[in-house]
């Protein structure tokens, strides 16, 4: 039967990686195994039925992740009449040598025949797992710990059921335990009064899962109680020694308390142990509490009046959160309500998570889009979040990995407010880093044309680094000057959000940075009807050319050029004060104008002088011939001038 379970587990894993053929093969092997058994074997019918349906099962991404999360510790499979956490499935387990501290240790099989469930005298010894032992002590009269292990008779192998990585999983262990040679001291959890070893087996499974085995580095009581019982963990920081005792007294939960770091001198003065977890045993009427030390010392119970030296309260609520979703991407957003528990799957190292809670039913485009209800950051891998109403939560972590969100209600992935979403990325490079609108290069910034076919609500989010902004203009064409944008907010750090109600028509979007630095950006468009977005070319034309000259106390300049083919041509003419690569709006600029002649005949005449910051523009379709572009400034003077020429044919 152990092999049968292996096939079933393999099948699930194959289904999770979409290897359906292999899944089918494994199912067939499992069926074959069942067929080989005698007819009256227990559970045969339900196991067969389950297996026959199994390979056709379609797993959701979330379910797949549960199977892929930890290869060695599979989720418990429910066959109907029986689960995989049953002794019938136990085969021989041979644990490799687990890492051990540097002690004279005898790692040997123990024949376990005491299944006593009185755990009052259980204690912690050398191993620094006060949190685990405290949890054991605290759960003793509230939870059947013994049911975590199977079978309840001497065996060389056991299955231990623990709650981690998104649910109940089976940890397979053998019956070896480390015994310190010639010593009364123990590396394992022990009872003073009886010779029970099954808690040590659960402890062993726990240590295996936690990663460092008997070189254990510590945990906290809320996490450990959750692993054992599945009770929802909550950690409350004690601030300034203040405890809400009436509240704690009233909760239906397992309670513990942890100390701060204390110097040995102060610790002994206070009769407390530094950074140690205790079980809360009793609330006294005078505002003190009785706490129990997991150590076996003379006076295991302390009465505490002053909580200044304690740092955490551990609460494990006797509740369940049946709806679960597993996911990889951090910065995922969910629509949730009520209580939710976020779990980062083991193994974890230097993990850190933040949860931002927004007052919104919709996916959040930028941080300031909706009101923030709360922000939590934690270095614990489990975090309980209590929500006052339906909210959107956004989860971030410094590390990739698999996460599980559990809730009392259905969990939905958040959706943006409007039906249509499109994303595009781009960059401000050395040509398109136009800077803000007070610079002559502003119009060099990336520009997009947006076509709106019907009245539309639109949100545009711009994400980048530094001070950024977005401006939307009517028209759709490439802008050549800064007219009134539809909204005009200040430049904002790292992101900008624009909310628009647009009527049918074409629009031009310009994204800019306050300074002219180089950076990439991401744009998200979310709209109530479909909009088309095109990027405008950064160039004036297909062929591009720049002519530069100094005014040199003159007020006119003739640029002579010849066209051999009919050519569409566009000129942009900018004035520059000497040595400037760009101008800002407060700099002095003379008015400019430009006219075009062919064979000394005027083709395009401008009478008005224009001192636009962004330069003057001339567009024309020209036939072959010799041309003169006459550029004039209002008054004679110095400074330089650049004529940018874009054309669809090459200009000689």
């Amino acid at each position: 039967m152990n092999q049968f379970l292996n096939y079933i587990d393999e099948t699930f894993i194959n289904l999770s990686i979409d290897n359906n053929q292999q899944a089918k093969n494994n199912c067939l092997k499992a069926i074959k195994l069942l067929n080989g058994l005698v007819k009256d074997t227990k559970y045969l019918k339900c196991l067969s039925e389950f297996t026959l349906k199994l390979y056709k099962l379609k797993l959701s991404t979330s379910e797949k992740l549960a199977w892929l999360s930890s290869k060695n510790y599979h989720p418990i499979v429910d066959f109907g009449e029986v689960t995989s956490h049953n002794e019938i499935f136990i085969g021989s387990v041979n644990d490799e040598m687990m890492p051990m501290p540097d002690l004279p240790i005898d790692y040997k099989p123990i024949n376990i025949d005491s299944w006593d469930t009185d755990l009052k005298d259980i204690y912690q010894d050398i191993l620094p797992n006060c949190s685990f032992v405290s949890s054991f002590l605290a759960l003793n009269d509230k939870f059947r710990l013994i049911d975590l292990i199977t079978p309840h008779h001497p065996s060389s192998s056991f299955f231990v059921k623990l709650n981690f990585n998104g649910g109940e999983r089976i940890v397979k262990i053998d019956n070896k335990l480390p015994i310190i040679k010639d010593s009364m001291r123990n590396l394992i959890i022990k009872s003073l009064s009886s010779d029970i070893y099954w808690p040590a087996l659960i402890e062993k499974a726990y240590l295996k899962v936690m990663g460092n085995s008997y070189k254990f580095e510590g945990s906290n009581m809320a996490n450990d109680t959750y692993m054992l019982s599945g009770y929802i963990p909550e950690i409350i920081q004690i601030k300034n020694g203040l405890l809400d005792l009436p509240y704690l007294k009233s909760v239906d939960a397992v309670l513990g308390i942890g100390t701060r770091k204390l110097s040995s001198q102060l610790a002994s003065q206070l009769n407390l142990i530094s950074e140690h977890d205790y079980v809360i045993e009793k609330f006294n009427d005078d505002g003190s509490i009785d706490i129990k030390n997991p150590w076996s010392i003379d006076n295991r119970t302390n009465t505490i009046h002053d909580f200044t030296h304690f740092r955490f309260i551990y609460i494990n609520w006797k509740k369940t959160l049946p709806f679960k979703t597993h996911f990889i991407n951090t910065s995922t957003q969910f629509k949730v309500k009520g209580w939710i528990l976020l779990e980062k799957h083991l193994p974890v190292e230097n993990n850190w998570m933040s949860i931002t809670i927004y007052d919104s039913k919709f996916k959040v485009l930028t941080e300031n889009e909706y009101k923030k209800i709360n922000y939590i950051d934690t270095n614990n891998r489990l975090q309980l979040i209590k929500l006052p109403k339906t909210c959107t939560i956004k989860i971030n972590s410094n590390q990739n990995g698999i996460f599980t969100l559990s809730s009392g209600y259905e969990i939905e992935k958040s959706k943006y407010e409007y039906r249509h979403t499109s994303e595009l990325s781009g960059e401000w490079n050395s040509q398109t880093n136009g800077g803000n609108w007070s610079m002559s290069t502003y119009i060099d910034n990336p520009q997009y044309k947006m076509e709106v076919k019907e009245p539309t609500n639109l949100k545009i989010a711009l994400h980048s680094k530094g001070l950024v902004n977005l401006h939307l203009f009517h028209g759709g064409g490439k802008i050549e000057t800064f007219t009134k944008p539809i909204i005009n907010e200040n430049y904002n750090q790292d992101y900008q959000l624009g909310t628009f109600q647009l009527s049918k028509g074409s629009y031009t979007l310009v994204v800019s940075r306050y300074d002219k630095s180089i950076e990439s950006f991401r744009l998200i468009f979310n709209s109530s009807s479909e909009i088309n977005i095109f990027k405008h070319s950064n160039y004036l034309g297909l062929f591009n050319k720049t002519v530069e000259f100094d005014w040199d106390n003159k007020n006119r300049y003739k640029y002579v050029f010849t066209l051999t083919d009919p050519t569409s041509i566009k000129f942009r003419i900018n004035y520059f004060n000497l040595n400037n690569s760009f101008e800002i709006h407060s700099n002095y600029r003379p008015g400019l104008r430009a006219s075009l002649f062919k064979d000394k005949q005027p083709i395009l005449i401008n009478k008005e002088f224009n001192d636009s910051l962004f330069g003057i523009f001339l567009t024309c379709d020209l036939s072959p011939g010799a041309y003169i572009l006459l550029v004039e400034r209002f008054e004679i003077g110095y400074g330089s001038c650049k004529i940018f020429i874009g054309s669809n044919k090459k200009i000689k």
Binding site: T308, Y370, P602
Partner: protein, 761 residues
């Protein structure tokens, strides 16, 4: 035609503009809607305005009248209502005098007045086109003169109404009223003419009609003499007419006297008639030949009759000739009045800019958004910052929580210090201050540059003006110097320099404050480790349960401060989003759409109708004001409680502190003070930043004024240079066909003139 004994008013000359294009630019610049939504209306308007600019004297018909009325309706019903009055600059050249002068003004009202003037001129010209030989022609002519007069009366009323706008001087009352009376005089003269043709009308009636004509001319002259725009030949014309009709009136009265055999009276009237004829002749210079011929005719008759009458009386009747004062007075009989045409009230031919949200809405929305931002800032942000500062100061002054931390918590970093450290780090630590200081320094440089740029514009003008003054000589270069012309701007620039100096000294005080606490801040931003090494441990002594209870109570109160501050922070964040999402524009548009007429008819300066919306809009923040008030009360109560609890604690804690405790307490207190200072410095720096930003906004306006000033001065110097360099010409013809385009658009030497031929090389 028109070569007769009456005057017509020459049309003004409109400077051509592409009205549609200009309005389109205004829409694109100032509205939230694109101009291409209105392209049809814009093209229409360009065409209408072009037609109006093309109007020529004499070649006019009823078609042009309809065009003008239509345009006036568009101006009043749409342009004035949907656009800011100063959206577009209109130019009009005045042709009343020999001197061609162009007036420019950014005002639709100015455009309106000029077009009403055009109507008045057209009516005067049409009146002269009518036949003066038929009753029908005279009747029509009289009506047209009265319509013309009505136009000028309308102008006069409008100028009174728009008394805040400085229109060009040709719209001053003396000119307008002179023209109005001229038209009435000519209308009355037409009536008189008609009466002459009717042989049944008695001399006494004609005398009264004639007197009225004279009276109107008299008024015309009276106002005309005060005006620079009524030329001498016209004044002479009016004077001649005034005396002519006075003489004519006496002549008719002499006939009346003759008929009733009052020979002495007859002679007296004839003598007066003769006297007035002579007076009329005194003004005959430059006056039209037709008028003089009329006068000659009258003169001959009067002189002849006088001679005969005097002789008859002397020889036969021997009646005493009464003095002038003893003659029976008659009243002038005016048969005319200014007629205000119904067409001024015409319904518009079509609706223009139907979908355009009026500028007043756009403008009010913008203003109210700014007001709202100010409101949020001054009613919430500032009070909360100062409440928080007061609270922190209150606690720090009492040495809290350092005093209890050092006793109760001999090791570890107290919660409040950890929180302060976190908050300082969250806010951006030392770097934040350094960053803002640097930013403010840059802003300060930017502000200085801006003022420099302003100064540079003035300096440019000063240099150019000096150069030209030297070249042309002080006597000829008779425009004001830069110091005089730019007086206001120079004053503003000086003030700006002063403000920047003050800001600078403010900045250095803040910098000093920052350097004083910098070492403590370094401890904060160094995190746990640096805090641990900075704050010494103290010896622990167990506390009496009674004291512990007091400490815990005090702690509880102190933790309420943290809660309160956090609550306020969340409140402000939410408020920011609420304010952003609570835009007033949709409410204004709603109001407009509900009753567009009411908004359209608004006087641009009277926006009180929106105030109500704003007040209602702000009501949505009442709940927040309540919160703030409650929060303030909570703070007062909390401070009282803390004060009492702290006194209790001090009273009960009698044990003398050992040196380790005192040391720990001192270092904690230093950190607490540094934290308070940190917050204070940031708020000071933000104030500084706000000052510089405001300065930049205002400074940019000054820069724009300086640029406009420089541009205007340059145009002025060009015009002046041209006029000094061209030899004086004899008085120009005022025929419309020969009018040159306004001088300012005429480029000067060196720059190619697109209006002239092409000469390269």
């Amino acid at each position: 035609m028109i070569e007769n004994n009456l005057l017509y008013i020459p049309l003004k000359q409109a400077s051509p503009i592409n009205l549609g294009e200009k309005l389109g630019q205004v829409i694109d610049d100032k509205y939230f809607q694109p101009s291409n939504l209105f392209s049809k209306d814009l093209i229409d308007l360009t065409n209408i305005r072009n037609e109006i600019a093309k109007l020529k004297n004499i070649e006019i018909s009823n078609k042009e009248i309809d065009l003008l009325y239509n345009y006036l309706t568009i101006l009043s019903d749409f342009l004035e209502k949907k656009f800011p009055d100063d959206a577009i600059e209109f130019g009009w050249s005045d042709l009343l005098t020999h001197q061609l002068s162009t007036h420019k003004l950014r005002s639709f009202k100015f455009e309106k007045l000029n077009n009403i003037f055009q109507l008045g001129a057209i009516y005067s010209q049409l009146a002269l086109k009518e036949s003066r030989h038929t009753d029908e022609g005279l009747k029509k002519s009289c009506n047209l003169f009265q319509l013309s007069s009505g136009c000028f009366q309308y102008i006069s009323n409008l100028v009174d109404k728009y008394n805040t706008i400085h229109f060009s001087s040709d719209f001053r009352n003396e000119t307008v009223l002179s023209l109005m009376n001229l038209m009435l005089a000519q209308a009355q003269e037409t009536i008189w003419q008609k009466a002459l043709n009717n042989t049944t009308i008695k001399d006494s009636v004609i005398a009264r009609l004639s007197l009225s004509v004279s009276e109107y001319y008299s008024k015309t002259v009276e106002f005309g003499k005060l005006s620079d725009f009524i030329k001498l030949e016209w004044l002479n014309h009016m004077d001649v007419k005034k005396f002519h009709f006075l003489a004519a009136s006496h002549f008719r009265l002499s006939n009346v006297a003759l008929d009733s055999a009052e020979y002495g009276v007859q002679v007296a009237h004839l003598r007066l008639a003769s006297k007035f004829v002579d007076l009329a002749f005194k003004h005959k210079k430059y006056v039209s030949q037709f008028v003089i011929e009329d006068l000659n005719g009258l003169s001959e008759v009067v002189k002849t009759k006088l001679r005969t009458a005097e002789k008859d009386n002397d020889l036969i009747y021997l009646k005493i000739v009464p003095n002038e004062v003893d003659l029976k007075k008659i009243e002038g009989a005016s048969m005319v009045k200014p007629i205000y045409s119904d067409k001024f009230n015409n319904e518009p031919s079509k609706e223009y800019f139907k979908e355009l949200i009026p500028y007043v809405i756009v403008n009010v929305a913008q203003a109210m958004r700014e007001r709202q931002d100010d409101f949020i800032n001054s009613r919430f942000h500032e009070p909360i910052i100062s409440l928080n500062n007061m609270l922190n100061q209150f606690v720090t002054e009492r040495g809290l929580p350092a005093s209890i931390d050092s006793i109760q918590q001999p090791e570890n970093i107290p919660e409040s210090i950890i929180n302060h450290s976190k908050e300082i780090l969250n806010l951006g630590g030392i770097e934040l201050i350094e960053k803002i200081i640097l930013e403010n320094q840059n802003l300060s440089i930017e502000c200085n540059n801006l003022v420099e740029e302003c100064n540079k514009r003035i300096q440019l003008d000063s240099n150019e003006d000096d150069m030209l003054r030297k070249r042309q000589g002080t006597a000829r270069w008779n425009r004001p110097s830069t110091a005089e012309a730019a007086k206001e701007l120079i004053f503003k620039i000086e003030k700006m320099y002063e403000y920047l100096d003050q800001a600078k000294s403010g900045d250095s005080i803040i910098n000093q404050k920052f350097y004083n606490i910098k070492s403590a801040l370094e401890v904060y931003v160094g995190g746990q480790k640096s805090l641990n090494s900075y704050i010494p441990n103290s010896t622990y002594s167990s506390l009496d349960p009674e004291v512990l209870k007091k400490i815990n109570y005090l702690r509880d109160l102190l933790s309420q401060i943290t809660t309160l501050e956090e609550e306020r922070k969340t409140f402000l964040n939410s408020l920011e989003i609420k304010s952003r999402d609570n835009n007033i524009l949709p409410k204004l548009i709603e109001k407009y759409k509900a009753n567009p007429k009411e908004i359209n008819d608004l006087d641009a300066n009277n926006i009180s109708i929106f105030e109500e919306i704003y007040v209602n809009h702000l009501k949505s923040f009442n709940i927040d004001i309540d919160y703030l008030n409650k929060s303030k009360e909570t703070q007062i109560e909390l401070e009282n409680n803390i004060n009492l609890a702290n006194n209790e604690f001090i009273k009960s804690y009698q044990a003398t502190k050992d040196s380790t405790t005192i040391e720990r307490e001192n270092s904690l207190q230093t950190l607490e003070i540094a934290y308070n200072q940190y917050l204070e410095i940031i708020s000071n720096l933000n104030e500084g930043s706000k000052f510089y930003h405001d300065f930049l906004t205002k400074g940019n306006n000054v820069l724009k004024d300086c640029e406009d000033y420089l541009y205007k001065r340059r145009l002025e110097s060009r015009d002046l240079e041209i006029s000094l360099n061209t030899p004086p010409t004899p008085s120009q013809s005022n025929e419309a066909g020969k009018i040159v385009s306004p001088k300012s658009s005429k480029p000067i030497g060196g720059v190619w003139n697109p209006d002239a031929g092409i000469k390269f090389g």
